[in-house]
Symmetry: C2
Subunit: 401 residues, 2 copies
Amino acid sequence: MTVQLAGTDAGMVGDDRPWQPLGLDELPLRDSLRGMSPYGAPQLDVAVRLNTNENPHPPSIGLVDALGKAATLAATEANRYPDRDAEALRADLAYYLTPDAGFGVHAAQVWAANGSNEILQQLCQAFGGPGRVAVGFEPSYSMHRLIALATATDWAGEQRADDFTLTPEQVTAAIETHRPALVFLCSPNNPTGTALPPEVVTAACTAMAAVGSGIVVVDEAYAEFRRAGVPSALTLLPANPRLVVTRTMSKAFALAGARVGYLAAHPAVVDALQLVRLPYHLSSFTQAVARTALAHADELLGTVEAVKAQRDRIVRELPGLGLALTPSDANFVYFGRFADEQDVWRRLLDRGVLVRDVGPDGWLRVTAGLPGEIDAFLAALSQVLAGARTDESGLVTLASR
Amino acid sequence: MTVQLAGTDAGMVGDDRPWQPLGLDELPLRDSLRGMSPYGAPQLDVAVRLNTNENPHPPSIGLVDALGKAATLAATEANRYPDRDAEALRADLAYYLTPDAGFGVHAAQVWAANGSNEILQQLCQAFGGPGRVAVGFEPSYSMHRLIALATATDWAGEQRADDFTLTPEQVTAAIETHRPALVFLCSPNNPTGTALPPEVVTAACTAMAAVGSGIVVVDEAYAEFRRAGVPSALTLLPANPRLVVTRTMSKAFALAGARVGYLAAHPAVVDALQLVRLPYHLSSFTQAVARTALAHADELLGTVEAVKAQRDRIVRELPGLGLALTPSDANFVYFGRFADEQDVWRRLLDRGVLVRDVGPDGWLRVTAGLPGEIDAFLAALSQVLAGARTDESGLVTLASR
């Protein structure tokens, strides 16, 4: 996807805009950023958008009304700075996490920010930085690597096995090799969808404690969609004081528009983040909207079962189309393996269905949308696959157009 | 001000909280952060809060209603990610800036984030970082230094003259000495209140261009309060492609609770920030609230004259109390010089008036609040100063209690 950058538009020279031509290479951009493109899925106006793992269920009329009233109340004091420590919101989040954690989570163990990306950035700012290494296991959420880069933290990307699983042995070996300040795990993993067994997280914590005092981050953005019987890494917090579990309200809570991410960790980790957080980082509107959504958790989490049903439907249907996939504990399915997944992506888009090509080669990711959206996705995919050939390794090659 | 950190509370060991004792020194905190306290004014429940330069005028009932309606509309699509590029908001901000700029500002020249702190952080992430230097002239807004620190940018703090002014020669000399990637200017300067003459900004741009390709940042958080005849640095943008002017909606727009900061610069600078911004950093609620406030700019900016009247009243009254102050183009006044300004701060607080002690020694900062708040401030200050002695250098020593 080519991103058009306004300032470097070659067509601009000589036109009537009120600025001189100036390229990125004429700015003192950090060397590590040169040649990069901005992160982000194409925001295209397509009928069926299954590319950013949004929850397809909008808030109910009652919840919309409650959110609006909460924002109205916040507006009456909009001239004042928000609660810098977001204490009420953190208490609400702690209460919400308690059943998954299996112990009484305390507000002092919770921190919130503008999306879990900002949480991850604060972790890298506090514990990473120049001369320090963060390890991740790829393919995974690519913002882990990009945030490390933006905070001048060295990145060591280890490759997952061909089936995208991760073992305690592999994690331990990587930690012993790199002796990192931070390890990023992702459970369920984005984009591959599978949750980590708790023994992998425990192995990471044990290995990190053996080589130093580094932090293990488990990104649980999609935790609420995991299959029955899979425990959250929250349960491991009491035994592992340098374990951090990040979450978001963007997915299960259907609140991507409000940008609320959070973590649970030892209170000392929260203290450390206070040293790098921007003061008043979380607006009073954000705090009010998030608290209102948490007060309606039952309604919002009610959508999770509907989303899981569509996910499981995709998981059931794709093998019949000759495709491979990974077990999904998330609200998306990772499928392949295509000789040219960009061609598949394009042909689906031609049929009004937008999925995501996040790499590696051969694989695509589709979000579990509404039933009608999944109807459209499966129908379009069937059409795209008509006449496709599958070789002995399982690689699918589309018929020529 | 001692900050109580939950995780390092010595009283916690042995109590029944579900975590093990763990100190900050047992975490892999970056060396540059060790020993720091979190930034921020004490959030105390006091009758007269004149410590954080908030606009004391809450939104009107009509505006509260409009903000609530805008948030309600955003809530209907809260399950979807916001516009990642905030294009409509940036167009509105460009329109707003145009009169001050004296040319037609284009949306491609504007970028917005969660408070101007996030804008400043993005600038440091893109153009600062390890091995690069940022220069500031202190006393100034201390977040410039702290954000440089958090982004691993070296900080060179040059001292202002005793009267807190800054000359083209001083700025030029500092740039020639440090050859920085970034220079932070602040106009009107926080906490000293005085706007910079345009020739200082121009000298900075000229000197920076002579030694490299670095960025000159003019922090104009308080620009709308400047006295008549003082031009904004926005007017200098067309001639200086590496000049960045940052603004906020927290002050003149009375929208501190919503956390909206922005900049105007060459579009190539905006392109560069896209490489480090967190995707979807600005919530759909924030974008909706900010756009609504901009649509009510006349009403909100109407408070500016009332605030300036109180500021000018403080400026008129303080010399009669035997105090010195600096010319103020902002919504606050910097006054002194006290032998022990912490004692003055405490005695004002005892009388229900909270001002700010941001350093350097001898000076305090008071926000221009509502008329009744300034009545209370001036009355309390008169009481505190009763019996005070002033030595030949102008240093004020309070009478013993």
